[in-house]
Symmetry: C2
Subunit: 768 residues, 2 copies
Amino acid sequence: MNQDYIIPDNWSILEEGFDAARVEASESLFSLGNGAMGQRANFEENYSGSSFQGSYIAGVYYPDKTKVGWWKNGYPEYFAKVLNAPNWIGVNVYINGEELDLNTCKEIRYFRRELNMKEGWYERSFTAILPNEVEVAVKVIRFLSLKRNELGAINFEIELKNTDANVIFEPYLDSGITNEDANWEEKFWETLSVKSVEEQAFVTAKTLKTEFHATAFMQSSLFKNGKVLNAAFEEKVHEDKISFTYSSEVKKGDKIALHKFGGYVTDMNHKRENLIAAAQAVLEGAVSAGFETLLQEQKDAWAGIWEMADIAIEGDVKAQQGIRFNIFQLNQTYLGEDARLNIGPKGFTGEKYGGSTYWDTEAYCIPFYMATKNHEVARNLLTYRYNHLDKAIENAKKLGFSNGAALYPMVTMNGEESHNEWEITFEEIHRNGAMVVAIKRYVEYTGDFSYVPEKGLEVMIAIARFWQQRANYSTKKDKFVILGVTGPNEYENNVNNNWYTNYIAKWCIDYCLASLEKVEREYDSDFKRIIEKTDLKEEELARWKEVSEKMYFPYSEEYKVFLQQDSFLDKEIIPVSELSRAQRPINQKWSWDRILRSCYIKQADVLQGFYFFEEHFSKEELEKHFDFYEPLTVHESSLSPCVHSIQAAALGRMDQAYQFYLRTSRLDLDDYNNEVKEGCHITSMAGTWMSIVEGFGGMRVIDGKLSFNPRIPEGWDSYSFKLNFRNQILKISVAPQKTSFSLEGTEPLEILVNGKPVAVMPSVLLTV
Amino acid sequence: MNQDYIIPDNWSILEEGFDAARVEASESLFSLGNGAMGQRANFEENYSGSSFQGSYIAGVYYPDKTKVGWWKNGYPEYFAKVLNAPNWIGVNVYINGEELDLNTCKEIRYFRRELNMKEGWYERSFTAILPNEVEVAVKVIRFLSLKRNELGAINFEIELKNTDANVIFEPYLDSGITNEDANWEEKFWETLSVKSVEEQAFVTAKTLKTEFHATAFMQSSLFKNGKVLNAAFEEKVHEDKISFTYSSEVKKGDKIALHKFGGYVTDMNHKRENLIAAAQAVLEGAVSAGFETLLQEQKDAWAGIWEMADIAIEGDVKAQQGIRFNIFQLNQTYLGEDARLNIGPKGFTGEKYGGSTYWDTEAYCIPFYMATKNHEVARNLLTYRYNHLDKAIENAKKLGFSNGAALYPMVTMNGEESHNEWEITFEEIHRNGAMVVAIKRYVEYTGDFSYVPEKGLEVMIAIARFWQQRANYSTKKDKFVILGVTGPNEYENNVNNNWYTNYIAKWCIDYCLASLEKVEREYDSDFKRIIEKTDLKEEELARWKEVSEKMYFPYSEEYKVFLQQDSFLDKEIIPVSELSRAQRPINQKWSWDRILRSCYIKQADVLQGFYFFEEHFSKEELEKHFDFYEPLTVHESSLSPCVHSIQAAALGRMDQAYQFYLRTSRLDLDDYNNEVKEGCHITSMAGTWMSIVEGFGGMRVIDGKLSFNPRIPEGWDSYSFKLNFRNQILKISVAPQKTSFSLEGTEPLEILVNGKPVAVMPSVLLTV
């Protein structure tokens, strides 16, 4: 743990006291998002200290030309970068001509931030003495509207504490921004127009290469002691910036406030020629509603989300704050209404990694969205990959595959690969398997098989084709092998027969074959359409079956475990506990070759397979593999602790499960890896949710039924969560020795509790 | 083969006819060098067509900031780039005010280049009609003096064919140059001063970061019909350029010529404050000798080199031209007088690859220099690595090794690693072995063991330490294994137990142990000094021995061959002959992962081990391995054909040996890989020499004696070469059924011919 300044609270993220060294970390932690746009917690007024500026528009990206020392065939031409978008939040403030800048104030007497997760707003308040001795008390509230997702609102209020003074607010829009993360120090935006219509201002810019057009807009009003001031203002127009200057004489003790409404409209949702009109419509709606009404809408919208998504924990405020922070960020990042969008690993909290979509979505995020939202949301996430199928086929073609085989990209924005390390881009092919696991989970959980004949089966066929072509027959082994891969553990590269990869490859083929049979039986016209479209022949199926039946799995007779890869046991096996603290994290201390030949595991690999396919193995097998691999795991990926937490809980090791839970739920709040200033780890936050629901709660779907094995960490009074299971809402509350279920549905629901069937009736609280 | 325009000739490289598409290739092929500086065959006069400008100063480099997509710990900060140096050859020419530019001439009636390898000069002659209808016949001779290695000389002669005209020569110096190969488009040079003293001009510039100071200089004289003209000239000085303008009225049929002397002096050889004085001394010597005398010196110097280094082939002019081109380029690149220098893979013919020193030097180049020069030259090459030992130890430390273990860099200029691909930089560690092989070859060939106690043993100890630490004990195998390496075949990365690497690792330890014993017995004071300096203890030696004795070697019982690496037989084994032409070269057609999991071999790997350690194996074993591996080899490295040529010859397969010989000797002349415009493949040229001497001639050193198994390709009348063996000069001539030896020495020499001992007497020609 590297920091401990966030004040524990059930519903808010709180910081007190100003420390310039924490500014960038807090900019990440107090980020806002509404699924369509997002904003790091940058100050509205100018700040001359170190800061990492970030405003983001979902789906708007820049294809940054690939930077690589040694080009390899098959590398993509570009890396899709999340873009810092034009600034709409900026408000310069001058008091008696002195600029308000927390970096130059003589004294900061008070400073507090609150991210109110329950209601979805962010407040910053401080008292400061400016270099000219004027003392100001400032309170700024900001939110990005969930209901009107092109709109953000700011209430910037100043009280003069020790003197009368002239106060100038200068709200502005600025498209002259840069990205921290740019390969070639190029500009990503070109400003097209800067204009105003009375009190409204608009800056329209387009991204270079991708040609996304976006209009940032604003309109402001001035209030004194809560009453609107129809003040005159002066307009300044620059090449890529526009500002309005509001000047007023303010008396000591008076409160002067600027309400600024702003945001973005883009050509993803409007015609280019209508962008300004669309912006005007947003502004007019906002102005006529007013700040307070908009804020109330926001509180209502978040109440709606929490109603379904909340996990309440009694008796452990840090754990409570952790899980709510995770759930809040997931909902800020992605709300599931737009099948063009996905869940970026940093969400709207930073630029790092680029691209929006990793296998994280399928492997970690889908269960959370499936259980806490309408099932349409998970279907949209699946459809996202269906829509990218042609590009995945093209991608596989570039790597020498044929006949409609698909390889989904490691990282993507629009379906094209945008990562460029050969050992990852070309070899971390297990990602293909997660696409099919997500379909399987969706079908099992929602009971909606119709997605398979409609879309899923085509994806499965293309992936089965890939695996069949990618495996090759080893005469030596009389088995099919998969050579030269990187498994989920990225601390081994270019290995042979990664067990996880081979296992998921075989499973993908088998699941596709079973789905084909079911679709043939039950969805005749879909079956015909798909067979025709994919030109799938019996001979090909025979080849798939041969590969599946003869797939090779490395196994150690000595340890009775599947081996991570062929040569794992040639390594020196020394548990992490014997590795000195000074050597860790190994990814910062060791050269890459040393990491690769070590036995240390970055994140669940064989155990990831045991997580996805738990039902294929006995508890004794799980235990044996957990005891073999976990002690060698350094958990240097944010995605590692959650899977181990779930498995530790399944093995009844609640202490260990709880330690892993804390590590995943407070990863960013406590900044375990000393990097939160670059942004939060959004996708792993879904893993935190799984740690409670699947880990402590032991939730599984078994034979179409929800099943629970509820446990509770020591010291917790209770925890509770809701699940949308097949369109019925089930609430589960767990307290020591006492679990209760209540159902908001119309049909009775048969569930399994500790392996025993139990019927839950609507509107009846059942305690077991 | 991609081109066929070089005219076969025994002693010259000839091109006739002007083709703009060939300009860049010819710029490489007609390059000049004198070991201290070099020059692509760029035109002196302006050329507005496509050209790749290159002037190089040996040892002067720029540390270009590493460009990499994803940083890995241990990567070097920079990549040492060979630098395009200030231009000293430039001479602008104007005829009646019209610029002479072969790209804009109305007609080029005649165009011829000759690189006279026998005498070491380059001549370009052409007849052209300018846009203003003036017809000129031009002849330019250029050379870089071997005797005065800071000096180059140009004789630029023009004859007016159809009219009287005004002719202006404008010789210049220019430091405003760029590199084709720059990571960040930065400038590499900063001009410090531009000045003149009467007819002499000087441009002093320094390289950024490395701060090499170099002064380019020039002085010119004008001649009409062979008589000096004391013409007035006009000086023009720019920020980084200086020129003198000589204008004369010339009559039709007259010949007007400019003699330009120029070159570089640098602070590698002079004090910075004396650079201009040093340049003046060079110029004064040149001017007082005059062009013709300097040219005669050049012819004499090359005669001296050829006297010893030539290989004469009768009956096959293309083979003759090929080998002489190779020998000529090697001597242009490196003459062995300066232990700070080495043999860059492109020599002075291009920028590609950067750095000057690869394992090519030890693996391929040392035999050539050892046999054709004073043994001091090979000793200098060994000393180069001894001088870099501390940096090699530092380099190993960065990768986690300790106790004085050394890892020599993959690519270097000054001893520091300057390559940055993890699978090469960190894993292609077999290069360490070549350092010791070179010492062994030196000792065997020269009989000079004194290098070992003086310097070599320290290198060997540091390398033995590396291997002992790098191997790890596999309980599964009860053997020591070496995991995660790239062998000489760079088409496999991060493999386990590459046989070549394991074999050379064990051998390095054994050879070091044997050398330690010999030094202890025979060089007592050296032994004490080294043991003290290296702090070498008995316990450590015991660990070395354990690793050597229990080293693991992958072997196939089925095929009775050592396996290239543990998993080689899991691959699909399909010979290259069954691979369609359209798929090749695979490094241009396939993605990297596909190459890696294929069975295709870039260059000798197991066979490289059989080459270095031929005496450890029977001919049957060689044959078995050759027949297993060669058919899987795509020879996509310039270093591949020579080793296979030698082994094919050893197996008596002369046709195959000859095919490989042609491929290596005419690789650049015939531009097999369509890339000669980037520069020539200098280091592999030493392999060509080996193909004849060790391949066709069957030369080996066996128990301290020279041994031959002479063979001759079909169609050759004879071939002959000389060897400096232990300071006696032996000349070998091979004709069908008849080999003769003559000795220029003082002692009789016992050699082995076809396994039988034969005494060669001084001054007696022995025919067997």
